[in-house]
Symmetry: D2
Subunit: 331 residues, 4 copies
């Protein structure tokens, strides 16, 4: 059951209502004037409460906190150097892996030059094979933080493991949850208990509803700062591209959820020469941002070299993406 109080409703009145539900052993969530009482079919309201209610709905989707029914307005995530959500367009760039302090510093400069305000780089890497490079660990986090600070950027990096949550929180502005961990529910609960924004990547075989339910694990644990990343799904067509970029999911998600939707043309194609056209397509859908991988020497990258853009290509791509975004602002 979703109760929309009026925006003018006094917080103590909303709080008192929620406390009463909790006392009655209901599970209650409140974000601003939006309230959800999970599983409830009816509630008793005082006259005063009744007067402050805007609407009541019983048509709860499974992922209620993530839904536009619960929160019609866009979630906007604010970081020191970045704002994500709504009609803003945010560029996030960096190498797949942090490879050394010098390298990430050089890549941060490139990322920034293209307009990126978030620096990406993996210090803990989820690799298909146990014998592949597994990341620099905390040393990588330190280098990443330093490179971002030196360029007035924010940090986004992957957390693979609930035991690393506290450590990584010391260095990052945004937790990234990888596609393979999208339904690692223990990890989702753990980041849900922090106040660090989370970028949740869609799993290779995750439906739109699966993605929203995964976001719901984070939200239901108290963290409403969530963005969703479309990064390609797995289909029969995998000879010329690593994945199938499901751009339909951008407007579909924007209808269903208030969380920002970000696209990742690097993983979605897996081939650097497809990244620019698909980045243009991504911004044209109306996505709130983009994450891309860059490298100055892709052939010797520690991971995912084939999909990395060289600096010059990246800068040209950014120009085109920015120009399309500017054009779209008029509509």
């Amino acid at each position: 059951m979703i109760i929309q109080f009026k925006t003018s409703a006094p917080q103590p009145l909303i709080q008192a209502f929620c406390d009463r539900q909790t006392a009655a052993e209901k599970v209650v969530y409140q974000v601003k004037h939006h309230v959800a009482v999970i599983g409830a079919k009816a509630v008793t309201l005082t006259d005063d409460e009744q007067a402050n209610v805007d609407s009541i709905s019983n048509d709860d989707p499974s992922a209620v906190l993530s839904s536009r029914l619960f929160q019609p307005e866009d979630t906007i995530i604010k970081l020191p150097h970045t704002e994500i959500g709504g009609r803003t367009f945010t560029m996030m760039a960096g190498p797949c892996s942090v490879e050394s302090a010098d390298h990430i510093m050089a890549m941060a400069k490139v990322a920034k030059a293209g307009g990126a305000t978030l620096l990406r780089g993996g210090a803990y890497k989820p690799r298909t094979s146990p014998y592949s490079f597994q990341g620099m660990g905390e040393e990588g986090l330190i280098a990443l933080r330093k490179a971002a600070d030196a360029n007035q950027m924010d940090v986004i990096t992957e957390v693979m493991d609930e035991t690393h949550v506290d450590l990584i929180a010391k260095y990052t502005d945004v937790f990234q949850i990888g596609a393979r961990n999208m339904q690692n529910f223990s990890l989702l609960k753990a980041v849900g208990k922090t106040n660090v924004p989370v970028a949740l990547k869609r799993g290779l075989a995750a439906t739109v509803d699966d993605l929203l339910n995964a976001a719901e694990y984070i939200a239901a644990n108290g963290n409403q700062q969530i963005m969703l990343l479309e990064r390609g799904i797995r289909t029969f067509d995998n000879k010329y591209t690593r994945n199938t970029f499901d751009l339909n999911a951008v407007p579909v998600l924007q209808k269903l959820t208030h969380f920002p939707v970000i696209v990742d043309p690097s993983h979605a194609t897996g081939e650097w020469d497809l990244v620019t056209p698909m980045a243009r397509a991504g911004v044209a859908t109306g996505a709130s941002g983009m994450m891309v991988e860059i490298h100055d020497d892709p052939e010797h990258a520690f991971s995912d070299g084939p999909q990395a853009l060289k600096p010059a290509t990246y800068l040209k791509m950014c120009e085109q993406v920015q120009a399309i975004h500017t054009l779209m602002q008029e509509w």
Copy 2:
């Protein structure tokens, strides 16, 4: 084996070479100065021929005539009111089915107002169920032709059946082959023997190579006027959209083939309110054109109402698509 003669090579010299291969029971194809000798591993050239050869390659892809290795330059298809291919962007619009002479006339005006130069409309409809509307037949073709002529437009309409090829050729400028018939090899051969351009829709489970091999059936039968349509593939994700729009396929195909690549956001989404963002994405990939379905009363459309754009929405979509295309011309 692919032999690229110099552009300056005399046609009689190329012709004589081809005739000699044919006489030796080889299968030979020639398009301008491009020659393919199927299955050959070596050829004997006269000194004169040798002097006129630019390059020889033994690395034939399966769909050789369709490949950029055979013909590096873009195929441009010229119709009375339209040019398709290269960096031109062509809009094709109309209702899913021709419903009546009046209705198609009204829809043609709308299509034209948005900038479309090709009018689409089905007179023979491939329907999943035998009990659904199967199309108006020849009466529909007559109405479609009339509506196009009255608006200085060209006609594109579906041929489902090799026995209809001659009949439909009397009324259309472009044959459309539907997704379900993409590997109806008898039909491909039949349209390959005409000189009417063909728009070949990608099948629901067709790989990029399957699509190119299907085009090859048309080309190998003598018809090089082919365009390829991406209209969505079938994946696990089918709750909120009818198909998954595989926009990655646009730049992939453009690398592999010289045939124009067209996108169809109507079938690729199946939902009218997703068509505009996905049309923007489609043009942003660099596709050579777009096909969309329009209807003034979608709820009473004879087929595919849910994905049809109403006139006002269509016109607004066209403006956005055109603006992005104009912007891209500079790059």
Copy 3:
């Protein structure tokens, strides 16, 4: 609307009822005492008719004639040497292509030795590439018929094209419709107008409902002698097998339709050494029959060599399949 007359109802009474509906411009189908009036929501019955009605249902599935709601009892297809349907298990075997009169004769002997009563072999081949072997045509049909007759077997062979229907009908006992033609509606209508049984192969991306609707095109044109073949679907997993064998579809189809369900482990795997275990799995699901490809020299087969069983392997496979079928008869 489905009307089940009593089995004791006089045929003239049922006929009169149907004629009255047809006269009222309804589309009516009758198979024995089962009657469907397409799209009707109510019918008027005489007192005599009413007394002969067993049940009336308004819950028509889209593919009504194919459904168990219309015909609860299994369809049994009778050929000179074979019966297909119900709890009988029918083996169909032969080479992918008819390669010569001698070869098909030799292969027929092998097929028969394993217990097959239907001889398969393609004379018109649907090949992905136009440059691959396209079949021997009528000469192949003649050889196939001769080989079957010499071994007291029936013939099953593919028809790709409505213009070939009459020609092929002269030689075959069963039309095979290939996976790529499953939604070639013109072809479905054409074989639906004959009285030759049809084996309809499931398309690579066809849902169970798509398959039933394709069968419905045949049934609605008058031919109720249909069997359905599961031969693998296209999924992301295609490195070690050509397709994914969707054996779940066997019991699913058996719930929904009265038409016999046949499995094809050759195409479903694409690898000969997987055929025997998957053939055992196929019979264990309860399928009514099986089609397998055999060849005495797979490396030099004109088509699909990698999936062909050599004679000794085929005979051993048949023994195992037969033993499992015998065991299952007790349950």
Copy 4:
């Protein structure tokens, strides 16, 4: 690089060779007389070692320890009441969730009556929605252990989280890793460091190679007691079944790996009335075992009721599966 020592080679000799590689900073794995030196292209052998070597191969697959190239013979896992692997067939049964001490005790009796020697039941449940039943936790583990002990059975239960590994190890004989955690690499490493056998479920979009690489994470951390479960993959066909049962994967995996392959017809279909035919198909492929869900009151099950077999159906299914397995022993 894989070195197969002779089975007669003295362990100290093998050990000395391995120690030398380790000292040279190579990553070395040894299982019995099988040795892998990761990434090595050449090794120096003493004369004595040379004399004890059977074969050396440089053609390492990515998941080397999991491969038949490394260990040609089947892995056999021994538990107090069960042996898993090779041509033995092992039944594992129980409810989806442990619901109460009494219920799991009753279900254990049923499972045992059908021939199961492993009792399954979830105490920690990975649920798509955070608002669904999440399991009884340790109390459930206690009840599960008690029910198994009372019936001379072994326990298999899911571990979702590396922080739970030690706790669950106190109660279980086999760790189950769920499909959604198949690439939770931290969890794989954690169970790899225990000596508790692991049942690794294939992810919804995991290729055969992905599954083997996931197993490799466990093996490379020291735990060679691994079995692999096929439980259905996600495809476009999801109306009548929850997943597509990829039975092809059974013989494919058996070619590639020495780890036992188990099938799960409950999750692979999601519908109880499809479980029996697909269980028959599963055993007929040659799988080493089966896991099924049972419940005495499926409509009120805490989770996955629609796919649970009632006791009588389960017992009949077990009889059929056992009869097919017995028949196959002769081949």
